[in-house]
């Protein structure tokens, strides 16, 4: 790991000021994406701004027809939230499938979304539920937030403070684990909220999480596995690596979408 200066703000404003002062700084949330790449010297931030002592950034709350999750809420807290399990168990299940118990004790929703790892689970839920990402500056719709592999709409001094998930009447997440890393080889999140039907896929796309319009269109008639039978997903633009070809991933998207629909 390269040397860096370490900062421990207690408010979001302080954190933003530190970001302004240190253009090469990185925010440290759970650290389970950042610290590994720093250890391998693949990232060299000049400063680390530790968000773990910022007040009021953690918790799961139901507000009207939304679930609001603080950006620093750790995976295990979201997974264990009874409030969330009561209103939208599918969302509670997503962090429960991330990494392993030790990782879930540290990793946070804000960190995961800001990192936008193309194989991460949370982006599928955020896009699959049409969530809104709330930052210290603005509100960003999920559809506008994820802009490509490891890239988001966040500006340099922008910090995610919470994520607002509209409660969907029906939703489910199905994940096919990467055999080695435990990330999503393919993960499919489906939801139905009134006429808003979403099918979001993670792990498969070379540009990160994406929606499957042909499935969504077909599901308008009936939100059920049968509706998407026979509709193929093209392997074009999907990832090929030693664990899964684009064809296999395309096939898994269909299988997992059907299973998610059956479970929703």
């Amino acid at each position: 790991m390269y040397a860096f200066t370490y900062h421990r703000p207690t408010t979001v404003r302080q954190a933003a000021n530190l970001l302004a002062k240190h253009p090469e700084a990185k925010l440290l949330a759970g650290g389970h994406s950042l610290i590994p790449v720093m250890k391998l010297r693949l990232a060299s931030p000049s400063a680390i701004i530790d968000m773990n002592h910022v007040e009021g950034m953690s918790g799961v709350e139901v507000k009207g027809r939304s679930v609001v999750i603080g950006a620093m809420t750790r995976h295990f807290e979201v997974a264990a939230s009874q409030t969330l399990k009561d209103v939208m168990p599918a969302l509670a299940g997503v962090p429960g499938s991330i990494g392993d118990p030790h990782v879930r004790h540290r990793g946070t929703i804000g960190g995961s979304i800001a990192n936008n790892d193309p194989n991460a689970d949370y982006p599928a839920a955020v896009l699959g539920l049409g969530a809104t990402i709330i930052t210290n500056k603005r509100r960003i719709l999920a559809d506008d937030f994820f802009t490509g592999m490891f890239s988001t709409a966040l500006e340099p001094e922008e910090i995610i403070t919470k994520i607002n998930f509209p409660v969907a009447k029906k939703s489910a997440y199905q994940k096919f684990k990467h055999p080695a890393s435990g990330f999503a080889l393919v993960g499919v999140f489906v939801s139905k909220r009134g006429s808003d039907i979403r099918v979001a896929v993670t792990g498969a796309g070379s540009n990160g999480v994406f929606r499957v319009p042909q499935f969504e269109e077909a599901l308008k008639k009936r939100f059920a596995p049968k509706s998407i039978e026979g509709i193929a997903v093209s392997p074009d633009g999907l990832n090929t690596d030693i664990h899964a070809s684009a064809e296999y991933r395309a096939h898994l998207i269909g299988v997992l979408a059907k299973r998610a629909l059956a479970a929703a």
Binding site: M1, Y2, A3, F4, T5, Y6, L28, G31, H32, I35, P36, M38, K39, L40, I48, D50, N52, F76, G99, D100, P101, H102, V103, H105, R106, S181, G182
Partner: protein, 162 residues
């Protein structure tokens, strides 16, 4: 270099360290608590698992400065000094849940955390799933699973994280 202070195995400790020092380095090199091991550099093997404020974490993916003011429990602090072994340690020995011993401290710490979260009656499937973050190359996990089930039962009545 910042001074980093925390409580490790019940004792207050303090040291000057570079900010880039990992918690596992702090434990192994500054405190000479070498029971916590490093088996990989991608946060997967779990040889470095300790309890940070009562929760199992990977000390290779935590900066020492992040543990400032925290309560750290390592394998060396699991049993009382000169006291009997912790039931989970005893269960690993009784069930031959270790061979080379390198993954063992992380396994035991993960197992105790598992019981803290999931209770004393753990079925095989739960244990296998919950061991996602701990690799062992020797045992094929068979006896580790047995050890954890037995250790969980034996922990009934003990205080969490003790």
């Amino acid at each position: 270099m910042p001074v980093v202070s925390m409580t490790v195995n019940g004792k207050a400790v303090s040291a000057d360290v570079e900010t880039r020092t990992l918690l596992v380095q702090y434990l192994r090199e500054n405190l000479r608590l070498t029971g916590t091991h490093v088996g990989c550099d991608t946060s997967q093997c779990g040889c470095c698992v300790i309890h940070l404020d009562g929760k199992a974490v990977k000390s290779c993916t935590t900066l020492a400065v992040q543990a400032e003011g925290c309560n750290v429990l390592t394998i060396e602090g699991l049993a009382q000094p000169d006291g009997p072994l912790h039931p989970m340690q005893e269960a690993f020995r009784e069930n031959h849940g270790l061979q080379c011993g390198f993954c063992t401290p992380g396994m035991v710490m993960a197992a105790v955390d598992m019981v803290n979260r999931k209770g004393n009656e753990l079925d095989e499937q739960t244990i296998r799933q919950e061991l996602d973050g701990n690799l062992c190359r020797c045992t094929g996990y068979h006896n580790i699973v047995k050890a954890i089930a037995a250790g969980a039962k034996a922990m009934k009545g003990t205080s969490p994280s003790a």
